[in-house]
Structure formats: structure tokens, C-alpha cells
């Protein structure tokens, strides 16, 4: 499923809404999640999962082609942990 299909499924269930409003609603949800993480916050959606930010320390990396040592800056990466309910659903619906 891609974003446009997600929007379509929600639009089909909500015939009283304009398609463009459904697009804004779906866009807002994803944008807010990114925005929260960009501010260093967690996003906890019980039953679905949690988005958080992990810090990766600066390190000395290596250019795999030349073997040369290169400094890698500290960075912050997004992380998702699946919620219990969703994890269980993945394994009992077959």
C-alpha cells in the first residue's frame, strides 16, 4: 500500500469529506510525527508502535574501497519499535 492508496481507503470510508481534506489530514499525521522527532521528542502510539530518536556517536569510519580512515560526525537517527498489539497481529492472522 502506498500513500495515495491509504488516502483513497480513508476517503472511501468518509464520503462526506473532500478528497483534498483527506490528503491534508493524512499529511498532517505524518508531518507531525517527523516534526516531533526533529524536536527530539518521542511519538507513542499505543498498539501501533513508538517512534524515537537515537543518537549515534561520532566515530572513525573507513572508506571501504581505499581502507582510509575518515571521521564520521555524531548523528541522530529515527527509530521505530512495533507495538505489542500490532506485533501480535502480524503473527496470528494467516
Amino acid at each position: 500500500m502506498i500513500k495515495s492508496e491509504l488516502i483513497q481507503r480513508i476517503a472511501d470510508e468518509n464520503p462526506h469529506l473532500y478528497q483534498r481534506d483527506v490528503e491534508r489530514i493524512v499529511g498532517t499525521v505524518f508531518d507531525q510525527i517527523i516534526e516531533a522527532m526533529a524536536e527530539g521528542n518521542r511519538v507513542e502510539l499505543r498498539g501501533f508502535g513508538a517512534f524515537s530518536v537515537k543518537k549515534r556517536d561520532a566515530r572513525i569510519g573507513r572508506n571501504p574501497r581505499t581502507g582510509e580512515a575518515v571521521p564520521v560526525e555524531q548523528k541522530f537517527v529515527p527509530f521505530f519499535k512495533t507495538g505489542k498489539l500490532l506485533r501480535d497481529r502480524l503473527n496470528d492472522e494467516d
Partner: protein, 100 residues
């Protein structure tokens, strides 16, 4: 870095501000976004949200594990796990925002 946690309620509030719907309906729509994603994943479908990221369902085969307390060998049944791969945009915004 002000540590706080965003929840369904905050997402519903953002939808409420963005579109002229009731708070109640805004909350229901947030729920239906999560429900449709979960349903697709539970059905084994992957979910790709451009400029956000991709949720993939991976199948892990059966293997032998060990009870770390007793050292006893226990079989681990085959299972499906979810992985999330953030988009470039998400990675960039999260990294840039936290470095500030």
C-alpha cells in the same frame, strides 16, 4: 532538548487545527490512518509512505534459542516482524533538528 511525548491526542489536535472538523472526528480519522496501516501490515502487505518511510513485514524462520537464565535450549517458532525504514527526508529533518 525539551523531552516530551506526542500521542494520538496531539495528532488529533493537529488535524483539528488543520481541517475544520470536530475534535471527535479528528481523533477518529487519526485512528483510521493507524488502522489502515495496521490492517495492510497484518495482511502481509508492505506500506510505503513517500517522504515518511516504508514499513516492511519480514519473515523469520524457526531457530533454536536459549533461555539466558537456565542455559536451556528452546525452539523459537517462525514469526513475522515489522521493520521501518525512514525516508531520506525524515532522516535529514530528524538529524538537522536534533543537532541544533
Amino acid at each position: 532538548m525539551s523531552e516530551s511525548t506526542l500521542t494520538r491526542m496531539d495528532l488529533a489536535e493537529a488535524v483539528f487545527r488543520e481541517v475544520g472538523l470536530s475534535r471527535n472526528e479528528s481523533a477518529e480519522l487519526v485512528e483510521s490512518v493507524l488502522r489502515h496501516i495496521s490492517d495492510a501490515l497484518a495482511g502481509g502487505e508492505s506500506v510505503k509512505i513517500s517522504s515518511f518511510g516504508t514499513f516492511n513485514v519480514r519473515t523469520k524462520s524457526a531457530r533454536m534459542g536459549r533461555n539466558p537464565k537456565t542455559g536451556e535450549e528452546v525452539p523459537i517458532s517462525p514469526r513475522r516482524v515489522l521493520t521501518f525504514r525512514p525516508s531520506h527526508l525524515m532522516k535529514e529533518r530528524v538529524d538537522a533538528g536534533n543537532k541544533r
